[in-house]
Structure formats: C-alpha cells, structure tokens
Subunit: 281 residues, 2 copies
C-alpha cells in the first residue's frame, strides 16, 4: 500500500527523532512507505527545512545508492537562550535553599520537560564533537547523562561510589571530595568503557569539582579521552578553590545562608562557550 | 509568514512527541504556524492517522474553542512483541553471567535504543492508568524510571539508600533486602511526593522483591496510592520466595551458575498482562 506524503512525513519525523545522529537509509524509508527514492528524497528536504525553520536541529542528506539522512537535534541560539532562561527561573526560588548553603534540585532532575531542555542544550554544545560515551557519577548525575544520551544517541555509563556485585569486574580510583575534604573512592565496571573512547563528562552540580576530578582520573585509568565537561548547575566552590577549569555550566547558583536565606540563580557560561565559539570569536 | 502543511506536519509531530499526554491547544498551533484552526484540525487528522497506521500511539482531538490534541505514545501489540523479542535477544548472552548467578545488565540500561523500548513498553501498559509520579530506587532503576517518565510526561522520584544533604527533609522506612536477608533503610525526600498521589513503581531487576516491598511501605508513609509495579527483568527468587505479586516483568532471566555457565532469558508476563486484558479476556 502506497503511503501519502503527509502520512510519510509524520512517521518519518517520529522515526528520525527516535534515531538521532544515525544514518537512516533511503532504502529503509523507501521500503517502509513503499515509495520511490525520489519521493523520499523530497520528503527529507521538507523535514530538513522544518527543523531549520524552527531552530530544532539539522538534517543532513547523504546522496547515492547507500545514502540516507542523519538528523542531529539541537537548539538554535534563540531557543537555547530561552531554555537557559527557563532553567534559571525554575531554580530562582528561595525555598530551594537547604541548610549549609545546599540547593534542592531533585524535583527538576525528575521533570521530563526540564530534562529535555538540559539534554538538548548539552547535545547542542557537542554537535561537532565526536563523543563515544557519556559518563556521570551516581545518583543525581544519571538523569542528566541519560537526557544527553537520548539526544546524542550514545550510551552513558554510571560511575559508582561503592562496589556492586552486578557490575562485574571494576576499576576504581580515589579522589578528594571537595565539599567534605575527605578521600573517597569511585569505580566503574570494566566492561562499560573501551580504551581510546571519547568521553563526555556530565553532572548535576559542581562545587569544588572533586567528583569531576575523580572521573578524569578514571578516564585516564581506562586509557580513554576526555572531550568535554558540562554540568547543569555550578555553585560556589568551598574556599573559592576549584579543581576543574574548562567546565561549562548551564546555570550558576549563589546562596546566602545567613539570617536572610537567599538564592540567586543566573545563566552559567554555556551561551558564551557554545555560541561565541561558533561565531568564530 | 504562512507555513505550508508539509512543514507544519513535521514540526507538529516533533512538538507533540516532546509534549506527550498533554493538551496542546489548536490556538497554540494556529499562532505558531499562522494558520486557520480548520487547517490545523486537518493536520491533526493526518498525524492521528499516521500514528495509528504504524502502531505508535494515538492522537485524541478535543473539539471546541478550548480544544486541542493529546498525543499518547504507545506500542501496538505487534510492535510491543517485537520490542520484547529484541530485549530477550540482547540479554540472552552467557557472557552476562556473573558469579553468584547475578546478571550483568548495566550496558543495556545505558543504551538509548534499549531505554526507548523499555520506556514505551511500560508506558503502553499504563495508557489507561492515571499516574501522577513514577518511583524507583537508586541506582539502576533510575534509567528505567526516566525512560517511562519521558513517554508518560510525568515526573519521577528516586528513593535513596542513605541520607543526603541535598534532599532536604526525608521520610525513611526499613525493609528486608531479599538477596542478602539484611535489614536496610531507604528514604525519599519529603518534598517529592504529595499525599494522595498515584504512584507507578518501576525497577531494573526483581529477585526476592525486597526493595519493591520497601517502596510499597514508603508509599504508605506518604499516604499515596500504588497503581502498578513493572520491572525490566525478573530473576529467580532466592528460596523460591517472592514478597511481591502482581508485578509485571518485560523479561525473565534464569541462570545456571554451575560448571556450565548458562543464562536463559525469555519474555516475562508483560504481553499477557497488557494485551490479553485489553482484549477483555
């Protein structure tokens, strides 16, 4: 049964969104819709135009017999700015302040809408980067890593704080946890990371940068390559000492835990790191 | 600038997929595409038809001035069966067997493709259920909960094994961990769950059912309602004793940890629980 263009476009958009950054062949679509490759090519031109128009990513088409299309979802600068503003607004709420200057963010990290924005923002930053795997540390980094993984279509691995039978053989490193100045241990299942892999590190929150430094050592132990570090929120480092530079943050949070409990969230360095570079500044 | 139907269909599909199970108004689409409501209504008819044709969900249209459309993604029976078969095949690999009869699944739980299938399967089961929040326990339940949350567009909450400053006030319960027969403690941030909420419990693996029993007590402590339990994989209970019934599993795994290391994965009770009910059997 031949499928009409309008119906093809709907299913094709859904299919491409569920297989981002992968080559989907003209042949596959041709068979799925019982349509000529020339019609499929025209369809793909429409999909490409629509993603461009609304600043939601790009569709590259590869011509030839083994050709096809690759959809790379990302935000235009305007959409990215809007997403950052929404995140800042959500965090700017004094009731999020916890004793000791900590910030309650667990609700946001469980909201699909927020996770889609975070995922698409971070995927936007690494559109031109060859990433093999996304790494994070349990627990609250996981939703961030997964949201990025879904848009980049790459696996994510979870570094754990203690040994677990179900991980099989592991590699571990020690690191200094900045917030408590204590030596801690983190470990990763041997099977999850290959040597030479390009690793993107993400996390929910960075204060001193201790856990990120730990992940950097772990990447070295696996003979893998660190290609980027991005966190959802960046806080005040303890003693103004930060162990990690070249980390990108979507938002920055300052807290005043005195008699006047105040939280001040603002945009992190994401926009300047991502879009001023792209402009070649 | 008026937008052509073909372009509208692509963006509309993307938008609806990123806002599943939510009412998107005709007015919103009309303004976004500078098009008459009658044209938008026709577009929605096409989207509806396409999702139906490929067994990917349903689009309900609500007529009237305050009307709009709600996209509910789910698998047709045929697509669900294919997804289950793929999962079974991925797990059926003797190299996944770990000492003590444990099964290595961490790689699958970090693969976007696998997580999309798991998420859409579980969302399919609860298409007609009023779910307010999805609950899981750290660590490996998190990717499962998030994948379901993305398709259901509902928040997920993470039950933790120990206290964390960044969770604010918590409620805790004790439970018996089946696999080690030890009393353990789990806790959930006070703010994340409201009394009366309808809670769907998901997890990566169930053996004895100890952690799920713990989550059930926690739900009681919050005066919330348990509306369903689904796990990715179900294993042999220790001493053939299982604490939880009416749990749905996507796959079932049996292991033989003798001299002959063998793993045997097969479909769980998902298909019979979900589709035979729907047929009214």
């Amino acid at each position: 049964m031949k499928i009409r263009r309008s119906n093809r476009l709907v299913d094709m958009t859904r299919y491409l969104l569920e297989h981002p950054r992968s080559l989907v062949s003209l042949k596959f679509f041709g068979e799925r819709y019982d349509s000529a490759k020339s019609s499929i090519s025209e369809d793909l031109g429409i999909v490409k135009h629509a993603f461009q128009t609304w600043g939601q990513g790009r569709l590259e088409t590869i011509p030839g017999a083994s050709g096809g299309a690759v959809l790379t979802p990302f935000f235009s600068e305007e959409n990215a700015q809007a997403a950052i503003n929404t995140l800042v607004e959500k965090v700017n709420d004094d009731s999020r302040l916890l004793p000791g200057g900590y910030v309650y963010l667990s609700d946001l990290i469980g909201q699909p809408e927020t996770l889609r924005q975070i995922g698409k923002l971070i995927a936007t930053q690494y559109v031109e980067t060859d990433v093999d795997v996304i790494m994070t540390v349990e627990t609250k980094g996981i939703p961030i890593a997964q949201s990025v993984a879904m848009y980049m279509n790459k696996p994510f691995v979870i570094v754990r704080n203690s040994s677990h039978i179900t991980e099989g053989p592991t590699v571990s490193v020690n690191y200094v946890s900045g917030s408590v100045q204590r030596i801690k241990k983190m470990e990763l299942s041997r099977r999850t990371l290959s040597s030479g892999a390009n690793v993107l590190v993400v996390d929910d929150f960075m204060k001193g940068g201790g856990t990120i430094t730990g992940m950097k050592s772990l990447i070295k132990e696996f003979d893998a390559n660190l290609v980027g570090i991005t966190v959802f929120a960046e806080g005040h480092p303890v003693n103004s000492q930060r162990l990690v530079d070249n980390c990108t943050s979507l938002i920055k949070v300052e807290t005043m835990d005195g008699p006047e409990k105040k939280i001040h969230a603002q945009a992190g360095n994401f926009m300047e790191n991502v879009f001023s570079k792209k402009m070649g500044n």
